[in-house]
Amino acid sequence: MQDITNDILIQASKGDIDSFELIYKAAAGFVYNVAFRVIGNRQDAEEVTQEVFLVIYHKLKYFRFQASFKTWIYRITMNRAINRYKKNLRERGGMVEYDEAVCPVIVPHEIENKINQEQREDTVISLLKSLNPDQKACVVLRNIEGLSYQEIAEALKININTVRSRLKRARESLIALGKEVVKNEL
């Protein structure tokens, strides 16, 4: 995202598609991954990513350069992803279908690690599944994307203490879930 200069943003806001492609290349990875982590479904994450970039293209002319561009994209992504998750929940009567684990590109000498990687991904999916959308958003932005509390507060338009309390409750749930898993394994 550091490569995205104000000039690129200004050109893209005027409708220059090549400049907009640079923005897409810089941001598509985290937009797609955040959407996938929140929704838990690859197809919906693809659609949300597409929607997010169309929104960015239309709203870029209203973007205030005092704010962080990355935080602004996180905000749009989170809004869209949480809305899609809630919509899925309503339509499927409270049940959300989760996809298989993320499969990163694996080079041959790392094949033996594949099973461990898949297990770790399964754990991530099951842990996120146990959280409500607001808690999930905070955990994804903090633990996977590495945003600070202040950045999360700006991205979600909430108070910094609300970020703290959501993370606290989320982690309490995750610890309780961990205890349950240990009990079951025993």
């Binding site: 598609i17 907009f20 598509a28 982590r37 970039f53 993320v102 991530v124 982690r171 995750l174 879930l177």
Partner: protein
């Protein structure tokens, strides 16, 4: 600080490294002397933080960009179609004849003719009926004349009546 407060800080600012150095030292001092909080920190790290540090990151499929690009281009083309070109502007500026005002005028004329015709017919009918009424009135007056009334068989036949008549 008691264990409850320490564990609350562990779950948020301490685990996320968002704590001022002085407060951090205070928490670490408590943890070093408290087995329960040390175990809590270990469990919190293992179950609520570490699983996510190895979360894989997927590469978004290429077709997403093609779809976004297609949508933008289609939108631009639609916008270009709705903005009138030079020829259209010129045509609209010099376009004098438009069928809509003419149709409106014709409807207005028909409406006015209709009203005028109706009012004329009404006036003629009214004049006719007035003339008829007058004629009837004259006839009735003629019938009521003294000659006629003298001949009338109906009467009271009193002395006063005869005197006046």
């Amino acid at each position: 600080m008691n264990c409850e407060k320490i564990q609350e800080l562990i779950l948020t600012d301490y685990l996320d490294g968002q704590m001022p150095e002085r407060q951090k030292q205070c928490v670490e001092q408590h943890i070093s002397g408290c087995f329960r909080c040390r175990e809590f920190l270990k469990r919190a790290r293992e179950t609520a933080v570490e699983p996510f540090t190895h979360a894989g990151k997927d590469i978004p499929p290429e077709f997403i960009w093609f779809r976004v690009r297609e949508s933008i281009i289609a939108e631009k083309e639609r916008a270009a179609c709705t903005v009138p070109g030079f020829l259209e502007k010129l045509k609209s500026r010099f376009q004098v004849f438009s069928p809509y005002p003419v149709i409106g005028m014709v409807i207005m004329v028909i409406f006015i003719i209709g009203i005028v015709t109706q009012s004329k017919m009404f006036t003629t009918a009214r004049v006719k009926s007035d003339a008829q009424e007058q004629a009837e009135y004259l006839v009735s007056m003629a019938e009521m004349s003294p000659e006629n009334s003298m001949n009338e068989k109906t009467g009271f036949g009193t002395v006063i009546e005869e005197y006046f008549l």
